[in-house]
Amino acid sequence: MKKTILLALTVMLIIALITGCTQSSSKSDKILIGVNYELSGETATYGQSSVEGIELAINKVNEAGGINGKLIELVKYDNESKSANATSLATRLMTQDKVLAVMGPATSGAFKATIPVANQNKVPVISGSATADDVTVNPDGSVQEYAFRICFSDSYQGTAMANYALNNLSKTKAVVIMDSSSDYGKGLAANFVNTFEANGGTIVAQEAYVSGDTDFNSILTKIRDLDFDVIFIPGYYNEAGLIIKQARDLGIDVPILGADGFDSPELVNLAGKDALNDIYFSNHYSSLDQDPVVQDFIKEFEKKYNKQPDAFNALGYDLAMFVVNGIERAESLTGEAVKKALESTTDFNGVTGSFSIDEFHNPVKAIVIIELKDGVQHSSERLSLD
């Protein structure tokens, strides 16, 4: 009995010593950046991919000597895909770990939950993939002072795809099959429909499903006999892959459009490569892009992780580089100074395109439209919307 108590005390002492040491030494010669991501739970794939990109970027910066001689240290926590955890972790990162900025979370809901904490503690939070429209603005239209993002919004994608269908593909009769269980699906659908109809197209039918559905035969059988020439699927690859497969099985061979939710290597497994013809979707980046920044990133990524990077990897990488760039230009190592530096970012040249930050802390950047042929990316083009 005595022995165990003694042992427990010793262990506690050692732990206290170790943590005490690292904290005291890290403050002086390291720059701490928080990473608050969905590493487990429903949206774990987005969080994990983003963090892979972030770690690649930070390693690269550290190998090159860090920021002004100071190495960057990531303080990484898992919010388990829960908004409440995202809030408490943001608080912990800012008040206990004293980080200079926080990256993440990946999804809009969780990211929004950290913004009040950021404003209160004057530490910027930056998301690489929170695409909901109202992420960086208050309900009254004013900007959330300490929130930034480096990806375009859902409405931007919906509008871009509607224009692409009308102008580039010359299609005027669309069916929309939307994921009604996510803000993402609903937001995209609304913007697509508005733009499509405003510019002379007709929406022939609008159907809905919820995330987790696997049977779309009834919906597809219903629309099969209608007169339409394009399908828009605002949703994620899990269901979109199955919709595409079942549609092609039923003999529906019109072009199918989607957004960045299509971007996953799983899409081809779900739909089968024969079904993936005439598929167009908007995305943040394409591996076909010959820009050296993109090609270098792909090479480095493949070397480290032995796989092709996806858009979340690219956004994570850009996010980390964007934050590093901000810290380098900041007048001092305080949250306020970093925020000012981020606000003044112009022509940041990232993997997902070059962009500047506008007054609402959104990037102004071009969208990439990717065409799939036999399940592989066949071509990509940049489309800017003005």
Partner: protein
């Protein structure tokens, strides 16, 4: 007309899956009056076992189906022995809560081992991937496989329940557990056998869904589980032919709601049916009204 036939075909394929799962619910309820909420997750395990047989072990459809059925039987028996048997004399609500616990354990346990990602079944080739076209109506080989497998399994179940000694024991235990025990029936092994049968059907349904929709994930059991539960209640819980009928009815209703009404209301209609049947005829379509003895 074409569309009607096509929708009926869609409905029957979907209904077969619900029927297979509903059978397990109904048998377990019939014998120990427990809504086994972990049942949908056994179906999920069946899908994963089939997946690993087909991808890692590179087995064909039939061997994979067979292995999934056997392993799911074992899992079903284990769950009964570990989680439900110690609570045989506890209140029904305690067992029900345990069932929910087992369900969550299976879901997140699976997620821990295989990850939260969606997995895709390898595409079937040759004859298994064929599609038949009659005019404007399409039937895929997958749909035929699903319906045939379901019919074979249901016939086997009927034979077991009606014509074997263990089937007789099952019926006796479900009628009156204590009396059955007095007549020399081993109640514990009969209950285990019931769980094994139900789990076998659920495991088979899992593999069939895997080849039909080729997308599986650790939480896939929840929704079909609930809908199969509705199907079991609709047909009359505890009644085996009722579960089959309920399964097919729910499948066809679901398809018709999204095919002729709005896909938005599909799930709402299914659960509205549950509410209606509980208000109007709680014993289900095939159930007899028996006054509860006090």
């Amino acid at each position: 007309m074409d569309q009607l036939i096509q929708q009926i075909i869609n409905g029957i394929s979907l209904g077969s899956i619900y029927a297979l799962i509903a059978l397990g619910y109904t048998m377990v309820y019939g014998i120990i009056k427990l809504i086994n909420f972990a049942h949908g997750d056994i179906y999920m395990l069946g899908a994963y076992i089939g997946y690993f047989c087909m991808t890692t072990l590179k087995l064909g459809f039939l061997p994979s189906l067979f292995i999934a059925i056997i392993l799911c039987m074992i899992v079903g028996i284990c769950i009964e022995k570990i989680a439900y048997k110690p609570l045989r004399n506890a209140t029904r609500i305690a067992v029900l809560i345990t069932a929910i616990g087992v369900s969550l354990f299976l879901q997140y346990g699976t997620m821990f081992f295989v990850g939260a990602n969606v997995r895709t079944y390898p595409p079937l080739t040759g004859l298994m991937a064929k599609r038949f076209k009659y005019g404007h109506t399409l039937i895929s080989m997958h749909q035929i496989i699903i319906v045939i497998t379901t019919i074979v399994l249901m016939t086997a179940l009927q034979v077991i329940v009606k014509n074997t000694r263990i089937g007789k024991a099952m019926r006796a235990v479900s009628l009156d557990k204590d009396a059955a025990q007095l007549m020399g029936i081993n109640v514990d092994s009969t209950i285990s056998f019931t769980f094994a049968l139900g789990s076998a059907l659920a495991g088979a349904a899992g593999v069939l869904v895997g080849i039909y929709y080729n997308s599986i994930n650790p939480l896939m059991g929840t929704m079909p589980g609930l809908k199969a539960f509705v199907a079991a209640v609709l047909g009359g819980i505890g009644i085996i032919p009722g579960a089959m009928m309920g399964g097919y009815l729910i499948g066809i209703i679901e398809v018709f709601v999204s095919g002729y009404g709005s896909s938005m209301y599909r799930d709402a209609v299914v659960f509205a049916i549950l509410i209606l049947i509980l208000i109007l005829k709680p014993s289900g379509i095939m159930g007899k009204n028996i006054g509860e003895k006090v």
